[in-house]
Symmetry: C2
Subunit: 307 residues, 2 copies
């Protein structure tokens, strides 16, 4: 489970930061990549990574501003050209369907895979045995969603060495123990599953927010997240400007991480008004409030370890 | 009058060639840049050039395939962010208006300059005292236009030295001569305007074609052009493939330039199946038929000199 930043800028592409797109790599977990937003030239950024477009299973759009969606039609079209055949589901605010349908049909783009488009409202937008994805509205002038991606707890691993030491050979008994069943061996001994299975592995939580002012729903979505990705379009002290443009400052992003009891914070959506030298200052501002803070850069990867 | 290639690839962005966009720089002529097509990330390419988005006056779209239009909404939006205030006119096939209107309105993009969208048919699509732009349909499965941009002849320059040698001082007489009027001087001499003005400067012609099979209208549009920009998606010998996919080979592009009596040919829309080493072969194939041939590369510039 890794976060890979494809675009970390605000509003417009700049030389050092493309417009927004974030990949959540779930390669070990499900052989898949989930994208969050797809600003223009997201597919160009992907060209310079090891991400395979055919691995993209889901694309979650936070809001419909151009710097978050204009790369979507081209990405979907190229995935088809490149032989992607598995279904893709796009989640996003009302309007995403019309945008995609018009873009694809006017350009006479016929995808060779099924495309599902789901216009979302607050609540649970996806759940299976591995993950749940919950969304809430943020505060950005247009409907902008935050996503809380929660991995489910996984049963502990089988303590193979301990079983073998107890004289059990690999086979059906292993399976029963793994399923949590008590097993009576031929010699009459009863094996208690709990003793031969490690502790359950706690699921990890990543929260990825769309553009927003400082708001309560951000804190709820980020509750005890292992990683919170929060926009920081402005530096500390620019709270008035941030409010007027429906954005956040470094300080406000850090405040959300602190209130929510997150493990780690990564700032993104950095305005091109801040040059490379200023990035250190931005991250230092946030660290005054929340020490475990990083600042995103295009092509930066963050691994989210098991707890 | 210079051609600047922003994207020269086919179908999908590749590392060495972005999808199609060609700038016609008319900086001396009218302080403007005209774009032909705007594939995804055209604005990103522009970031690495001296082209100022606010100078873009007209955008001509050849056809609606995604690799020729997906960069248009972002380019128009960023031009506004960057303070562009002068009108932009977009010319293109029927459908371009809906694509732009839906893309801009769903993303709530409000341009700070007037945007005019003209859905074109065959004929003259633009004319003023400097230039005319004529279009014809090519052969590409979907409506694909070719553009013939013709500069008007300009009156010759005033032969200032010769006038001064004849004893005339700069002033109203100079102006009359420049306007082609005969002038009677105070001493009774009559100056014939024709003798004091150089020969008229012949207007230049550039022909920029959309994707197409080899076709008659391409030859008509390219008639005696100073520069023909023709797609060459496939190499010589792949005529069957080119026909099936509504494209041209290097050989066919050269044949058009030859039939039309062009001065120069530049091949573009090069498939990523051809690596850098193969480009030389492609251009060599065309030169067998039409010697003054070049192959486009991203960021290559071709100046079109006066005749
Ligand atoms: Zn944004
Ligand atoms: Zn094309």
């Amino acid at each position: 489970m890794d976060i890979f930043f494809l675009g970390t800028g605000a509003g417009m592409p700049a030389k050092l930061r493309n417009v927004t797109s974030i990949a959540l790599k779930l390669l070990e977990e499900r052989g898949a990549v989930w994208l969050f937003d797809a600003g223009e030239a997201t597919q160009h950024q992907i060209l310079h990574t090891t991400i395979k477009p055919r691995r993209i299973e889901k694309i979650f759009i936070t809001h419909l501003h151009g710097d978050h969606i204009y790369g979507l039609p081209g990405l979907l079209a190229s995935r088809s050209f490149q032989g992607g055949e598995s279904e893709v589901t796009v989640y996003g605010p009302k309007g995403i369907k019309e945008f995609l349908q018009v873009s694809l049909s006017i350009s006479q783009t016929y995808l060779k895979y099924p495309l599902k488009i789901i216009e979302i409202e607050e609540g649970l937008v996806f759940e299976d045995e591995q993950f749940s994805v919950e969304v809430r509205l943020l505060d950005h002038g247009v409907p902008s969603f935050g996503y809380r991606i929660a991995e489910k707890d996984r049963p502990g691993t089988l303590l193979v060495d301990k079983l073998i030491a107890a004289g059990v050979r690999p086979g059906p008994v292993f399976k029963k123990i793994k399923n949590g069943e008590a097993v009576t061996l031929e010699d009459g001994r009863v094996l208690n599953a709990g003793e031969f299975v490690g502790p359950p592995q706690k699921g990890r939580v990543v929260t990825i927010l769309g553009d927003t002012r400082y708001c309560e729903n951000a804190i709820l979505l980020a509750k005890e997240a292992d990683l919170l990705i929060h926009e920081a379009t402005f530096s500390k002290g620019e709270e008035k400007l941030a409010f007027d443009y429906f954005h956040s400052t470094t300080f406000q992003a850090a405040e959300v991480a602190k209130q929510a009891g997150c493990k780690q914070l990564c700032l993104t959506h950095i305005s091109s008004r801040y040059d490379k030298a200023a990035w250190l200052k931005l991250v230092a501002e946030a660290r005054e409030i929340f020490s475990n803070t990083e600042i995103a850069e295009d092509f930066k990867e963050i691994t989210i370890p098991y707890k």
